[in-house]
Symmetry: C3
Subunit: 394 residues, 3 copies
């Protein structure tokens, strides 16, 4: 059919001839409706769900964050171990640096005057003895407190236990106060300063919002309804928002998450990027299968006596560890995810004719007529052979 | 039309007959050009932007990192509070462990000999008094320093304030040195050792690069132009690169981010995965609405007097907290993202005929001719009925 | 052809007439096979790889985690510096809080009685002197220990060095014990409590699994085969699993990662979300180009003598820092990634006819017949002109 002169001409034809499918128009409103309706569904999905709800046209970035915390408040205790004592920030916040994770001491077992010396073990089935033969010199029980000296000594008037070399006297941590010693800790406040960065978008924000002034910051206290932007939190309030009771939690300690969600839509109004605070207890309160419930750790203050002997005050500290957890994803319009998501949705659009064809050739009364005019069978070259020829049987 | 014998034959036909669209070739160079040009655009986008710029064919993984830091240097101070004193690493780096976040002490307010005792409050409107009636025993002002004893004592010759039980004497933190005490800290150096892992790709790297030898490491100092691979940083240099003045920042403290970007293309030359250092001040320098600008915290060293009384040296520490922040995304060729992105782009390719058809049937002079030959209308079975039949009116 | 009356009718036609491509059926089993086979490949890829292997139908979220650790055990040492000494948790774990990163002291260089005073420098080429002229008052060598006083003093009977103002006596860290002092540390155990959250899916898990009871937890010890769910780890076992020798590592210290992988398929059986533990040494053991191999830091305990003079015990602590690194991605079925991935794969499906057409028109014997019946050329309106007309030459 192509009667051009040279091969260059043919090549031009090959590149620039436009080959378009021949089509058949079916003027049937039911088939048309099915086709348009499915088209509408796909378009609605793309616009409504992918774009509006899921914001799939956005490129995303994870937040990089810095947190500093500063606790304020003091508490007064009067115990037999250490007498009247005023606790200030330098004492009850551990570690003192004001990092994103800080511990507020609320209860404790104090063992004031420990020295490296010899003393009888705390009594338990493996340490009680009758005479020195029950104690092996140099033996150390992993569940005990030190190296046995081989002697069996009076622990009390009724019980004898093996003597050990250890920090003596031993801590008796069964006498934990049932009401938290520093119950006043519930009124401590903490100032949280949080700066975040979305490095991919070069966006920087901090949780002290631009419209807040210094005088407000000196007086305010976070409250979800009245002061949702104040970065100063009362510990009692944090714990209550997490669904716990402070005094209850203060006895055995626990871990409390202060979650700051910086999920941001950075597209149109970058200033609409605000932190959302939430609070959650991170350890399990009363699980059936817990070892060492609550949160505690031991630390010591070391002193030297005038004679040069080292002595220490061992503190088993119970309290609440506050973890400031900053998370969030920033999204901003970008061409690649837009095209990926649009393209994927549009590929469904190109499947719709198959659906409409199937409906037309299966469910319509005139399907034979449609089929006959839409589909033609290959006609063999010179004579009209039956179609089955290429298969074996004929 | 299908004249085969059995139903199996028919089934074979159904599965293996190939149905291909009939096409019409339009030998018009303008339509062809429009089609080829739009095709070219899509292909260019796929190759150029998706593949080369965005590397959308890669699967990505987030970095897991470990950092150790080691500060070197010492500083000499001579103040009235503590006399001549040489500060070494064990004293001015808090905490001492050399973690990814470390604090270098640069300025301080020292309150040397505090004991638990009674002393008059610092004078301010709520603590000044005329006689004992102004002070309530057991009362504690949240902005004060301790529990009131109910007495009104001379703070100075001119002012009387309520006496409190507290760590006495109180800290007077208004006398912060205007020039940082440890100004020599600017010449401290820090060695940062950073190992990273991309767990998905099982790739491990460290910031001490393979081509660096030990003797170089003993002498070098990071410099963006001359020594970009040296992991030893002079504090002054870090602060200067962040656009700040060290001596200025040292007075009230601050937070400085040492950002290590490990974004890596792990595809062809895995060894091309190098750390990129950058530095940024993370807290706000002089915002209008800041509480407690700078960075400081209080800690104490506890001693015991020969008579057993506990005494402490309270230090309000100002300084620079350095946060080593490691981030980055590793990318490596993977089949799924490749297919997702290619597929999405190709689905645009399958929309191009629609574009070219629209152009052909709308903008070309011979559009009626093209339309007539491309599109045929359904012809009703026996007689040639007008097309409108299926709609209501006729 | 369209003989309708009004424009509204025409508009209805435009919207609801369904335009379907005319097709030609080719009853050739080879072409049909090629087409069906490629279709099968794409479908297999979608089902097998995208859905089953890569779970590309899932939306993903990163894990948020909290870790507490509690080390147990004690060790006995007997050195000339500090005499017989029993080390318990409060002494050898630094920092004591039981955070996700903790350091276990295994070896040390102790300098017991340092005071701020004057003493001769440690001898090295830059500090040795012959007389006072070699020492400059106020000079401080960055690689030295303090501020020179300008005097040249006897360091030993044979060597004279410049006197410095510093914490004296200086630490001599060359006398590091060749066998780790606290070799018993290998039998310490650590309890790791880890709670995780996938905030997007509101899923919370912890590493103490529901089916574990308290009595098991008191006795168990992690073992990959016999006790894979026990959260109590023996330090020796951790180090061994990382492919290292504990005693070897204990001498100079190191960093060990305890990796907890919480990658979870949250789709069908949420309870199938278990932690997978693995262990890896994070610093380089014996690299050729390492500064300060191993892991150590200096800290001090401060005391006051009866006369009020401050004295300290400087400890250069070598040991193993354990970093608990929690990572993982949770996946759950979501409609957007499903559609994106299916859509992208299906767009390949719509490219298959092009492949089959190419095969049919190139490789088949009857390609001319197929081509003639599939493709028709545009026929100019009144007379049958040759096709080349629109191009220049004719």
């Amino acid at each position: 059919m192509c009667k051009t002169a040279g091969s260059c001409q043919g090549c031009l034809h090959y590149v620039f001839d436009y080959e378009t499918p021949k089509t058949l128009v079916i003027p049937n409103i039911r088939v048309g409706c099915v086709f348009r309706f499915t088209q509408l569904l796909v378009v609605l999905y793309v616009v409504g769900y992918v774009c509006v709800v899921q914001k799939a046209y956005q490129d995303t970035d994870s937040v990089i964050s810095t947190v500093t915390t500063k606790v304020k408040g003091f508490a007064f205790t009067n115990t037999s171990d250490i007498g009247p004592h005023l606790w200030d920030v330098a004492e009850y916040v551990i570690p003192p640096q004001g990092d994103h994770s800080f511990f507020v001491l609320t209860n404790m077992v104090v063992t004031p005057e420990q020295t490296q010396s010899r003393c009888p073990e705390l009594p338990n089935p493996s340490t009680t003895c009758v005479d020195d033969c029950d104690c092996i010199e140099g033996h150390s029980d992993p569940r005990g407190n030190g190296i046995q000296t081989g002697l069996c000594e009076n622990y009390s008037t009724t019980v004898k236990t093996c003597e050990v070399l250890s920090w003596c006297p031993h801590e008796v941590d069964t006498k934990l106060p049932e009401r938290a010693l520093m119950s006043a800790a519930e009124n401590f406040t903490v100032l949280i300063k949080n700066s975040i960065t979305y490095p991919k978008f070069n966006v920087h924000r901090r949780n002290i919002l631009p419209h807040i002034n210094s005088s407000y910051l000196k007086m305010c206290e976070f409250n979800r309804t009245s002061d949702p932007d104040c970065p100063i939190f009362r510990l009692k309030h944090i714990v209550a928002e997490a669904g716990e009771d402070f005094q209850d939690m203060a006895v055995k300690g626990g871990i409390l998450g202060i979650l700051i969600d910086w999920s941001c839509d950075l597209d149109w109004w970058a200033k609409k990027c605000f932190p959302k605070y939430s609070f959650r207890r991170l350890d399990n309160k009363h699980p059936v299968n817990n070892v060492a419930p609550g949160y505690n750790f031991r630390f010591a203050k070391y002193y030297k006596k005038p004679d040069g002997e080292e002595t220490r005050m061992l503190i088993k500290a119970f309290g609440i560890r506050f973890n400031v957890i900053v998370f969030g994803t920033g999204g901003k319009f970008a061409i690649v995810p837009t095209i990926v998501n649009l393209g994927a949705a549009l590929s469904f659009l190109s499947l719709l004719p198959a659906v409409a064809d199937w409906f037309m050739l299966t469910c319509m009364k005139k399907r034979d007529l449609y089929s006959k005019q839409k589909t033609s069978y290959l006609v063999e070259d010179t004579e009209s052979m039956p179609m089955g020829t290429t298969y074996g049987t004929k």
